[in-house]
Amino acid sequence: MSLLEIKNLNLSIYRTPILRDVSLSVDPGQIVAITGESGSGKSLTALSVMGLTPQGTQMTGKVLLDGKDILQTSEPELCKMRGQDVGMVFQEPMTALNPVQTIGAQVAETIRMHQKTGKRAALAQAEEMFRKVGLEIPSSRYPHELSGGQRQRVVIAMAVALRPKLLIADEPTTALDVTTQARILTLLKTLVQEFQMGLLMITHDLAVVSDIADQIVVMQEGQVVEQGQTQHLLQHMSHPYTKALFAASGHQVDLPQTPVQKPLLRVSGVCRDYPIGRTSVFGARKSFRALHEVSFDLGRGERVGLVGESGCGKSTLTRAILGLEDVQEGSIALDGQPVFAGKRPNLDVRRQMQVVFQDPYSSFNPRHRVGRLITEPFHLLQAPPEGIARQQVIEQALTDVGLHPTDAGKFIHEFSGGQRQRIAIARALIIKPELVVFDEAVSALDVSVRAQVLDLLAELCRKRPFTYLFISHDLSVVRSVTDRVLVMKEGRIVEQGPTESVFTNPQHSYTQALISAAPRLPELA
């Protein structure tokens, strides 16, 4: 008999059906991954096993944990099971811990909830568990003193403190950097082996799925469309959605060849310091150097990627290039003109640059219509088009990114995430800039939408070649849409070169670590 068995689970929230006829099972020592795009119902499936579904939820079917039906279990009984028989790890390690309690106390709490143990004994047990999850810091620390990876280890320690039979992990590595992600995945695998737990893992990342799971469950719009043993499923995908999903994940963009001409953007010896708080009341203000003598050139027509983990200085560099913040040392020049002229940003240069941001939901003023939103860069022009000419430019810009001219009259909330990124691209290109910065521009999108937006990018390049700097933490995306790549670590560019040669033959040890840590999609037939 399986450890967890979900049979024909139907779930609705306030009568809106969410899950339909979901069935799956997890055995002891087995890793089962549920995957799918946002809105597929994968997280709710996990929460239903915990009995932690939101208010207004109605469920039919069976969720059997060790033969006991969760749906028929009373709340007090469920409380006894949570933490004891099932543990759960969440996506966001930054907010999953109580900020005002020590990490030791929080792990000890799991133990004391279920066993009659003294405070001190529980704490000793918690510290034992910290060693198990590879955490070598005092248990008297508070969450804000820990890094994201360390916090996720605390959350894991909390979930497995009582060696539950089943562990549920909801996107446990999505918020983490690739190298940290690799270590956390290894840890989870080891724990499953050691404790002979079942692991039900939710993730949208197919590379992670293929890497870690014994069994894959693919969900779409609340239904399981396909499931099977990993190797088998990868080789014999039968459902079109599964095929499309994997195809989109490994999507290769057909980027037009453009001759690289003379340098357009020249960054040389740039240093950026941020003041940080004083360490003592009468001490001098200290500063933190976010960029260390960063130098590189961007040729006209060149498409360059910038990769690195969080905190490496990517965003700082972006802001400096866009002329949003001045730098302490070095210079940034576009076509020989500095982006910062004296104390003020240089408008002549700004006219040549635009940007596309990561979050499609916060990139637009919710109170303006699309027509007004995408023409905001007109502010930079000395003689922006007026009247009918303006209408024509708007229509052209929207058509170029695959939207309809009538969309100009709509508000931004009427569009999906992918459409919003198209609008963001329209806004960036409307004044025909020389250089466009894409700041994690596809990171918030589902794989299939991401593939479409990347294709759009290639198509736009074919219509009118332009230079771009593509910043991303996702190596596979960078690999497919750039000619050259820069690798950044702790404010320094540690390696740069043609994309293919950096990926196939990385020179710097950090680049090597980064590439080997990144989960890879298996070669599909």
Binding site: M50, L52, E75, P76, C79, K80, M81, R82, G83, Q84, G87, M88, F90, E92, T95, A96, L97, N98, P99, V100, Q101, E109, T110, M113, H114, Y142, H144, E145, V155, M158, A159, G277, R278, T279, S280, V281
Partner: protein, 314 residues
Amino acid sequence: MIQYALRRFVSLVVSLIVASIVIFAVVEVIPGDPAAFMLGVNAQEDTLNALREQMGLNDPLPVRYFNWVTGMLSGDFGNSWTYKAPVAEMIADRIWVSLPLAIYALILSTLIAFPAGIYAASRRGKPGDIAVMGATQLGVAIPNFWFAMILVLIFAINLRWFSAGGFPGWENPFDALKSLTLPAIALALPQAAILARVMRSSLLDMLGEDFIRTARAKGLTRRQALWRHAVRNALIPVLTIIGLQFSFLLAGGIIIEQVFFLPGLGRLIFQSISARDLIVVESVVMLLVFVVILVNFAVDLAYAVVDPRLRSRV
């Protein structure tokens, strides 16, 4: 932590200095000749001179300010012109009515608001919540001095449980507290309504946080998660309100003292205003502002006790 406290202390001192300059400017500079202002148009020349001499008006402004501040620091608030008595003594007599009243009211307000707020949050949307919220909605709308009059009408005049006003002094602490009880209730209930609303909404915010879900996944019941994880986090915004309320209670006390004929700072200040005794007004206002700033400092320290993130900050 020490660095944090030190920094807050520096800001306390700066606030006090700036506040004292503002008060000094309003009372002693704006009227032009404070002595003439105090004595009115029919003043005799020699009385005027005597008052000018007493107030040190013949000295240049910075010297006057300096003397005033150093005087207060050494406990000398000058002499009241109308009462011919040291202001420090007059304040000392009266502060033992006003301060206990404010503290009494603060304690009452907290004792009522915390359970009410926590109860309402834990039964969100249910009849209990709606009843508590309805009551607080009404409580917020009631002016405390009118509420005081109603209390007098019911409990002093009709039921005769309390006296309608006056203060017997602290010789018998029980009687003293009893005479402060109606005023404290009048002050506390409207404030408790505000505090309960803040407590509830702060708790509801916390209950939506991820770490509450983590706690539930550990096997805590809804109630346990609320008490062990949400309440302490919810205290952070609540402390701010408590700090602000103390100044409202102290100031509100001045009004309530009028209703109950209590010999507190309020009486002193109104008598001084009608007698145009600027020396007394200036000192009492400075004292009130000092207490408010001091309480805010205490609240800042309390933050650090509740929130470890602040302790490591400078």
